[in-house]
Symmetry: C2
């Protein structure tokens, strides 16, 4: 049986994000997991995700870091409170700020690995720092400040 | 006759970026223009570009700010040197760093306006600051540090 990803626990009505929603048929449908105290996501860019030939466009890198980080923030919030990820109410996070440093061109002909550490959990805020690697080399670094979704923005569960 | 966008001047072999390449049939194909000393880009998100229902996902916002900023950096470099945008050699920019602050949820049911100012041009580096608005309200702010593409990464013109 395959391990469930963070995104597999999102309630159906919150599972349509273009970056991470498993029910968005046009989207990236990323999958994130714990690896010890870090979180990890592997993603195979599609041939049309290029900036210049051979290299991934920066918006995809930003999108992967963003959505993997908000998923990681939720997972960390469950873990910090000792709650299983399928318990109610669902904890979901939005991005307050995103910072990406592009260190070198990211080759497109292989999987990208986004690996993150939870740097801080404080109230409804979680700080997540990430690296994005291709072929064993770090190509970008990211920092996301994620904030738990305000109750009035959580879609009703109908 | 319609005004040409910055991206319409990109040489064919550099016009496949998912965010801004006019020849990437799967991509966003954004169009950026001068408006006085500012640059502006209008983009209509597609229904599947959602984060949670009704709101744009953050990765699209980051992608729009990123690609509009590198296009703006190139336009500013041409303008600073008094060169027309169709002169050779082509000036193209990559993103060294991208920072986005998400100020409020961005509604998806209307066009997004990205409006940018050139804050600094120094050697091969251009700093671009942007706002992203929907329905007249600023929903996100961005800063991009763009760097002129090193010659060895420029695709050959065949």
């Amino acid at each position: 049986m395959e391990k469930k990803a963070f995104q597999d626990y999102y309630p159906d009505n919150m599972a349509y994000c273009y970056g991470c929603g498993r029910m968005n048929e046009f989207g990236l449908q990323i999958k994130s997991y714990w690896d010890g105290d870090e979180t990890v996501c592997l993603f195979q860019p599609r041939p049309y995700h290029i900036a210049i030939p051979g290299f991934v466009y920066g918006g995809l890198i930003a999108s992967l870091i963003d959505c993997h980080s908000t998923g990681s923030a939720a997972a960390a919030a469950y873990r910090a409170t000792g709650r299983p990820m399928d318990s109610e109410p669902a904890l979901r996070f939005l991005t307050a700020s995103l910072h990406v440093e592009y260190l070198r061109p990211t080759p497109i002909d292989g999987p990208l690995e986004i690996r993150s550490q939870i740097k801080e959990i404080k109230g409804r805020k979680v700080v997540v720092e990430s690296t994005l690697s291709a072929k064993g080399e770090i190509c970008a670094k990211g920092q996301v400040i994620a904030v738990q979704i305000p109750d009035h923005l959580v879609p009703s569960g109908d």
